[in-house]
């Protein structure tokens, strides 16, 4: 019995790839697809796709897209005629769904006309379901007014339901919208008014609600039950509320957020609600764990009276590092950090704090950090989104003066 001879030259020929400077061998290339049937990753192409702009130095943005198989296939097609920069997140194109195959409602609060982190995560979940498998779904943002940045957050359409007095009236308007437009999924945040609305809608439609979803893919939604000891996973049902920080916000090409005519959707008033007014929280008396903005003093602040005045003027809740609390300058309840309070605030303003690990643990959840410190190499300066190397004693009166000038 004779075996066929191998022809090393021909094999090399097959495996040679075109490249700019010198011939490159792709030793992994096979004529037939891998036995597992899965497409192979092409790291070269992935890097090329995440190239942001090729100027003096190459800059890659790998945070935006984990290359999924669909993406890889898209780039495979795109690479031949478009430059990587055209599909990179640097200059994204507009994502347009002309004829949606199905609709997904994303119900958002956007308190104060601004999308919160949680709102973006709701859009992330909706986009995930809209783009699953063949895609073609459109995400409809359900709002109560004009909101900026809906397109960037991932909304293809926008339905501004008339603002209603009371949850029951809002639920009735939403129910009408659901019955007319027949969305495949309606997604809410498991928080405040959204959670309330979701339950009212579920009861009105007589439909199951999957509340507090912790893990969401196109195939299944998982939520904990029995005090988090057990869980259940189902194919994503029609009504879902998602837990906070569970689904990634959408970060690819912006969508168009085309408004849908909402004149059909009347909002009545709830006859049982006689009056309703909103009382804003007083930051000075809020607990550290509840507030959204903390102004905090460290050992670098010597004038505590001025600091207190500043915290009040900036409408922030006063906090402090342990050194300041140990010295008795601030109450123990104001201590931020591992042995104090772990914050859930959006913004942290640190004056003269070095940023010891025990302190940084307490602000791990803060999205925006501002640091004022005389030491350029302090850990807090490195952590901050806005870092100012300057004497806190000079910045505090300047801030107070500027606030007075702006009439706050």
């Amino acid at each position: 019995m004779s075996r066929q001879r191998r022809d090393p030259r021909a094999e090399r020929g097959i495996r040679t790839v075109e490249s700019r400077a010198r011939p490159r061998l792709d030793v992994a290339r096979r004529e037939s697809p891998a036995a597992s049937g899965r497409l192979r990753r092409d790291p070269w192409r992935e890097w090329a796709a995440s190239l942001v702009d090729e100027t003096y130095r190459k800059r890659y943005d790998r945070s935006q897209r984990q290359m999924s198989r669909e993406d890889a296939a898209r780039f495979l097609a795109a690479r031949s005629d478009i430059e990587a920069t055209a599909i990179s997140p640097g200059q994204p194109a507009l994502h347009v769904v002309e004829e949606p195959a199905f609709l997904i409602f994303a119900v958002i609060e956007a308190t104060g006309g601004r999308l919160s982190r949680f709102d973006r995560q709701v859009f992330g979940a909706a986009r995930l379901l809209a783009d699953a498998d063949a895609g073609g779904g459109a995400v409809v943002a359900i709002t109560t007014g004009e909101i900026d940045g809906l397109g960037e957050a991932g909304a293809d359409r926008m339905l501004a339901l008339p603002s209603a007095n009371g949850g029951q009236a809002r639920a009735a308007a939403l129910r009408h919208a659901v019955e007319t437009l027949l969305p495949r999924h309606v997604i809410f945040a498991e928080d405040g008014d959204s959670a309330d609305l979701a339950r009212r809608l579920s009861v009105a439609l007589g439909d199951d609600l999957m509340s507090g979803v912790e893990h969401l893919t196109a195939r299944q939604a998982v939520r904990p039950i029995r005090n988090g000891a057990r869980e259940i996973g189902l194919a994503p049902p029609r009504l879902m509320t998602i837990g906070e920080d569970r689904v990634k916000p959408y970060a690819a090409a912006p969508c168009e957020a085309r408004p849908i005519d909402a004149s059909d959707f009347e909002a009545g008033a709830d006859p049982a609600i006689l009056s309703s007014e909103i009382i804003p929280g007083d930051p000075a008396s809020l607990a550290l764990s509840e507030t959204d903005f903390v102004v905090s003093a460290g050992n670098g602040v010597s004038d505590i009276a001025a600091f207190r005045e500043l915290a009040a003027a900036m409408k922030g809740t006063p906090g402090a590092s342990r050194v300041v609390c140990d010295a008795g300058l601030m109450p123990r309840s104001a201590q931020v950090g591992a042995s104090g309070t772990v914050l859930a605030a959006d913004c942290y303003f640190a004056l003269g704090i070095s940023g010891a690990p025990q302190h940084l643990q307490g602000i791990a959840g803060c999205e925006h950090v501002i640091a004022v410190n005389t030491d350029l190499h302090a850990a807090m300066i490195e952590r901050a989104g806005l870092a100012i190397v300057q004497d806190a004693q000079l910045v505090m009166p300047a801030l107070l003066a500027l606030l007075r000038e702006r009439g706050a």
Binding site: A384, Q390, A398
Partner: protein
């Protein structure tokens, strides 16, 4: 104001034993401040879990004996419909916003409210009687420490938020003295369709029919699908602006630094400080 607190069959998060959930203890505190004769209502297989409510300020307890993990809704609705039609009709029904140790959907109060045709107000942190008789003022917890003060017409269902005042301390004597009334669900269950009709909710009755009358409410749980929970990490919160480099200012003029700070706060929507500079 005659007040009733719905008490669920909560499980202790660590030991798994029946106990009174903390949220419902807070609800009892709110109820006791409005009505010294507030009663508790529980549908379940026994009063082990909810007895402690008597020690926290309830004057009495009604227990509807149902078996095992049977849906408590028909029993609760049947009992409440009877009570609302009776002489000492409860005006305010308090409940927790989520259960603890069961399916934790938080739907029970909404279903009860809809079957009885009552308004529901969620997430109360404080309640008091309104100026007009037959009204109630509820402070709802909202994000960032804000409160919404709504006035509702009674009778109403109100769910309680964890930020409401601390519960009253437990006292053993009142728990021993408290009277527990036991009821059987059978008779009350028969009333359900009538109640649903009375409240004018055709959908509910229709739904009960097409599932053979067994399903009474939205429950997403198929018990067979239950499995041990797997902890999944939450998303990391990272600083808004990446690359500190661009946003690092070394030794700026203090006035300039102050302007930078305020602009950063306003650009990120944290606070608004009057008019912006031109």
């Amino acid at each position: 104001m005659r007040t009733l607190v719905l008490l669920s069959d909560a499980r202790h998060p660590v030991s798994g034993r029946p106990h009174l959930s903390r949220l419902e203890t807070q609800a009892i505190g709110l109820a006791a401040s409005l009505d010294p004769a507030a009663r508790g209502l529980h549908a379940g297989s026994g009063e082990d879990a909810v007895r402690a409510g008597l020690g926290h300020g309830l004057a009495g307890l009604d227990v509807i004996e149902t078996t095992g993990e049977a849906d408590p809704l028909p029993a609760l609705v049947g009992f409440l419909a009877d009570a609302l039609g009776g002489a000492d009709a409860p005006e305010l029904i308090l409940a927790g916003r989520r259960g603890e140790g069961g399916f934790e959907t938080g739907l029970v109060p909404y279903l009860v409210a809809e079957r009885l045709g009552l308004p529901i107000v969620a997430d109360a942190v404080a309640i008091r009687a309104g100026e007009m008789p037959g009204t109630l003022v509820v402070d709802q917890a909202m994000a960032k420490g804000a409160r919404r003060r709504v006035t509702v017409r009674l009778p109403a269902v109100v769910t309680v938020h964890p930020l409401s005042p601390l519960p009253r301390p437990f006292a053993y004597g009142p728990m021993r003295r408290g009277r527990i009334r036991r009821h059987s669900p059978a008779a009350e269950q028969a009333d359900l369709p009538a109640v649903a009709k009375m409240a004018g909710h055709g959908t509910v009755a229709g739904r009960a029919e097409d599932t053979g009358g067994t399903t009474v409410g939205p429950v997403d749980v198929v018990p067979a699908d239950e499995r041990p929970h797997r902890a999944r990490p939450k998303l990391m919160r990272t600083s808004g602006t990446a690359a500190g480099g661009a946003n690092l200012h070394v030794g700026p003029d203090p006035t300039e630094a102050a302007r930078l700070i305020l602009d950063y706060l306003e650009a990120n929507g944290i606070r608004r400080y009057g008019k912006a500079p031109e």
